[in-house]
Point group: C2
Chain length 449, copies 2
C-alpha cells in the first residue's frame, strides 16, 4: 500500500521531541524537521551539577545533529518558532533576525516548560533559574564571581549577604540544588576562602518537602538536608526580591544576592501560538492520543501538555512522561496513516527519586520500595548514568563522579562572560489566571525514566 | 637569621606567574598575592582543541584557588591591574567597577601577551583570536552558528562564504588550528550538513611554514596539512578584512566570515604601566636575572619580557621559557633576601614541536632528533598530557582523546551566548614603533616544556 509522503515538524528537542523524532527515524515516506533554539539536547536532571561545579557543561549536552547523523530522514533547524498557522499548516521560524516558513503535514509540539513565578514577575528579575544549560552556567559564574567579591570586601554584613544562597522550592530540583550547593561550600569554597561563612537556605511554601512522597521519605529528605548544613524553612514563601536581600511572607528578611527559583513550571510560550483550550499553567489540552484538542494534524507532548490520568490528576512535568508521550505521538501519527486506531496514553511509571548530596537521597520505586541514604543514592546514580545520551558523555560523567566522590573536588569552575538572561521566562498575560499552586504536585520533577 | 616579612605581588596566573607562585609556596616569611583577571589558569596549548569541539572548556582550565588551596601563604585576587606605582611600591587592581590598592615589597609581572595585528587594527575588529578560553569558546560558538546559518541559506555563494575559514599564521598555533578545523569539517560537519563544501585556508606571509624549523620538517608540515585538505597559501598576507570577505596583498579576494588570527603576539598592556625601556613588540627589557631594568624590586617573566639569548636572539614567547623564567625570578628574589648572588637565566631547551591533526605532527627534539607523522604526534600527545595541570583534567583529556581517535567524534559543541570581545587586544599607541616582523621567530609558539 503506497502512502502520501508526510512532512512532520517537531518543535523542541527536549526529551519529548527527541523521542518522537527517534520513533520516526527510518520510517518510509516520512521527512522529519526537528526545530530547537539550541543546537544541543540537554540532559536536564544534571543541570544542578553544572551549576555547582561538579560537571562540565559539555558532559550533559549532546549535539542534535550528532544524534541524527546517520538518519537521512531527520533534518534539524536551529531557531525559534514564532507563529503556527494550523489552517495553512505551516510554522514561522526565526533565527539571527531572519525568518523562514516551514509547512507541515503533521506537527508535534514538544516545546516544554518555563519557570513559573506564580504572578510575581518582579521576583523573576532577580532570580536564577535551572531550566537550561545557560541558566546553569549563569548561576555557576554568578556564585564564583560573588565569592570573589566577598573575598574583596572588608564589610562583614556585605560578605554575609554575598555568600548566602536561598533556594526556593521543596521539590527534587530544589533539594538537589540546595544539597549540591552546600557540598560545594563545605568541601571546596570554605577551604579556599578564609573568613567566609557561606550558608544555604531552602524555602518551601507548604509544611513539608517533596509533597508527592510518603511521609517517611519526606522526613528523611529533611533530615539528610539538615545534616549537610542546609537551613530548611517550611511554610513560608518569598514575597519580595531585591538585588541584595529578599523578604519572606513571614516578614523575615534574608540578606542575599543569590535567589534560585525552582518552585514550579508553566507551559512554554509556544503554547500560546495555537488557538485551543489550555489547562492549568497554560498547558495545552490534548486527547489521550496526544492529539491537540480541536486542531487537525497537531500533537503535543511533555511539559507543555495538560492531560489527566485515570485518577483525575494531571501528569507531572517529568522526563519519563515526556519521553513516553513523544513516542506515543509519533506512533499514533504512523498508525493513523495506516488507518489503524490511535492508542491512548498509558504511563509506565517506575516511581520517583530525588538526590540530596553525596550518599544522600530518597527513592520510591514503583511506589512500593522506599529507599533512603546510600542505597537510594546509588540507585539514583546508576539510573541517571544509564539515561545519559551518548557513550562519551556517560564515560565523562562517570569519571567525574568517581573523582568527585573520592576527592571531594569540584573542578569545573570557569567564570564565563555570558550575556544576561535575555527575556523574562514568563509571559505576563499568562500568569494570574493559570498559575500552578506553589505546593502542587506538578513540579519540575526529575523522576525515574 | 631573621628576615623582614616580604609581600610579593604577582601579576598574571599564566605559566610564568604560576611557577613563580609555586616556587614561593611555603617559604618562611613570604606572603604572596597572585592577581589574575580570570579565576582559572588556562592550559593554552590546547585552546585550539576547545575551539574545534574536541575538548570541553573545563578540561583545560584549572581554578587558581584550587591550586593553592593547601598553601596558606599564597592568596588570590580576581581583577585587572590598572596602575603600578614603582616608587610607592603599590598596584591598583580593578574588579566589577571597584578599585583596590595593594602594596608590595617585590613585584613579579607575568601578564603575558596579546594578539599582534602589526598595526592593522581594522583587521582586529573582524578577527577571532586564540589567546584565551573565552576566545576559544567564542570561535567554537561562531563556527557552529555559522554552519547553522549556512544550512538556512539557499544562496550558494553565501553558503560558500559561511563555511570558509581563513587561518592567518604559519606557526604552530596556525597549523594546529587549521588542521583541527579541517578534521572537524571532514569527520563531523560534512556528515551532518548536506550540500555544504566547507574549506580551510591557511595564509602565511613568508614562503614557508614553521620558520624556526629545519627545512625537512617545514616540508613535512605542509605536506601533512595539504593531505588533510587544507589549502596553504604562502608568501601572501591579509591586507583588509570585512564581515563577509578578506582581501590579500596579492589582490585575491576570499569570501569568508571567519578569520582566525594567529600571526603573532605583543606584550600585554600591563607592560605600559611601568616606566622603563621596552624592546620589540612592547616587551619589557630585563636583566638576565629577570629584574626589570632601572626599576627597584620588580621582576618580569614570560611573554611580556624582552631578553636576548647568547646568540643575540630574543627568547620566544613560549611556555617553557615562561615557566623557567617564573621559577628563576622567584628564586632570585629569595636569593637576594639571603644576600646570595642572583642567577642569570639559562634556558633548558628540549626542542620544539607542532601538531597538525590526527596522527600528523612534526617534532624537533633537543634540536637533533627530527620526527614527523605518527611518531611526532605520539610525542606531542604524551608531552601535553603530562603537562596538563590536575589529575582529573588529565584523565578527562585522555578519555576524550582516546574517544575522538577511535570514533572521529567531536562532542563538545554547545553554542554559548557569550558577550562580545570586550576590548581590542591591541593598544593603538604601541603598534607602529614596535611591531614584530610577521615572519619573525617570536611567534606564539606552543613549544616543549
Amino acid at each position: 500500500m503506497a502512502h502520501e509522503r508526510l512532512k512532520v515538524v517537531i518543535i523542541g528537542a527536549g526529551f519529548g521531541g527527541l523521542y518522537a523524532a527517534q520513533t520516526l527515524e527510518r520510517q518510509a515516506d516520512i521527512d522529519v524537521l526537528l526545530i530547537d533554539k539550541n543546537n544541543y539536547h540537554t540532559f536536564t536532571p544534571l543541570l544542578y551539577q553544572v551549576a555547582t561545579c561538579g560537571l562540565d557543561a559539555d558532559a550533559i549536552a549532546y549535539p542534535i545533529r550528532g544524534i541524527f547523523r546517520r538518519q537521512s530522514n531527520v533534518d534539524f533547524l536551529l531557531g525559534s518558532v514564532t507563529a503556527i498557522d494550523t489552517t495553512a499548516q505551516r510554522v514561522t521560524v526565526q533565527a539571527s533576525g531572519e525568518e523562514r516558513i516551514e509547512s507541515y503535514d503533521r506537527l508535534i509540539i514538544a516545546a516544554g516548560s518555563v519557570t513559573n513565578y506564580f504572578g510575581n514577575s518582579a521576583i523573576g528579575k532577580f532570580a536564577f533559574e535551572l531550566k537550561s544549560l545557560e541558566d546553569a552556567l549563569r548561576l555557576r559564574s554568578h556564585i564564583l564571581s560573588i565569592f570573589e567579591r566577598a573575598a574583596w570586601s572588608a564589610d562583614d554584613a556585605a560578605r554575609y549577604a554575598y555568600t548566602t544562597i536561598v533556594v526556593v522550592g521543596g521539590g527534587p530540583t530544589g533539594l538537589e540544588t540546595a544539597g549540591a550547593m552546600q557540598e560545594l561550600y563545605s568541601f571546596v569554597l570554605k577551604k579556599e576562602y578564609t573568613g567566609l561563612t557561606p550558608r544555604v537556605i531552602l524555602v518551601e511554601a507548604v509544611d513539608r518537602l517533596l509533597v508527592a512522597y510518603p511521609e517517611r521519605l519526606q522526613a528523611a529528605a529533611k533530615r539528610q538536608l539538615e545534616s549537610l548544613g542546609v537551613e530548611v524553612i517550611l511554610g513560608d514563601a518569598v514575597e519580595k526580591a531585591f538585588d541584595d536581600h529578599i523578604i519572606l511572607k513571614s516578614g523575615r528578611v534574608i540578606p542575599t544576592h543569590t535567589l534560585v527559583w525552582s518552585a514550579g513550571v508553566q507551559a512554554a510560550p509556544a503554547a500560546e501560538l495555537i488557538a485551543t483550550e489550555v489547562g492549568k499553567a497554560g498547558r495545552l489540552m490534548v486527547e489521550p492520543t496526544m492529539a491537540v484538542k480541536n486542531v487537525e494534524n497537531v500533537y503535543a507532548v511533555g511539559d507543555i501538555v495538560y492531560l489527566l490520568n485515570d485518577k483525575g490528576v494531571p501528569y507531572a512535568a517529568q522526563i519519563p512522561v515526556a519521553k513516553q508521550q513523544g513516542e506515543l505521538a509519533a506512533r499514533n501519527l504512523l498508525r493513523k496513516r495506516m488507518m489503524q486506531a490511535e492508542l491512548p496514553f498509558v504511563y509506565r511509571d517506575r516511581g520517583i527519586m530525588a538526590t540530596i548530596g553525596r550518599s544522600r537521597a530518597v527513592a520510591w520505586l514503583y511506589y512500593r520500595i522506599q529507599l533512603t541514604g546510600f542505597a537510594a543514592w546509588l540507585a539514583w546514580l546508576a539510573l541517571h548514568l544509564v539515561s545519559l545520551l551518548g557513550m562519551r558523555n556517560r564515560l565523562n560523567v562517570l569519571l567525574n563522579w568517581v573523582w568527585n566522590y573520592f576527592t571531594f573536588d569540584r573542578s569545573a569552575r570557569i567564570i564565563l562572560p555570558l550575556k544576561q538572561k535575555s527575556t523574562p521566562s514568563l509571559p505576563e498575560n499568562n500568569v494570574e489566571s493559570s498559575a500552578l499552586p506553589p505546593s502542587g504536585v506538578e513540579r519540575d520533577l526529575a523522576g525515574v525514566r
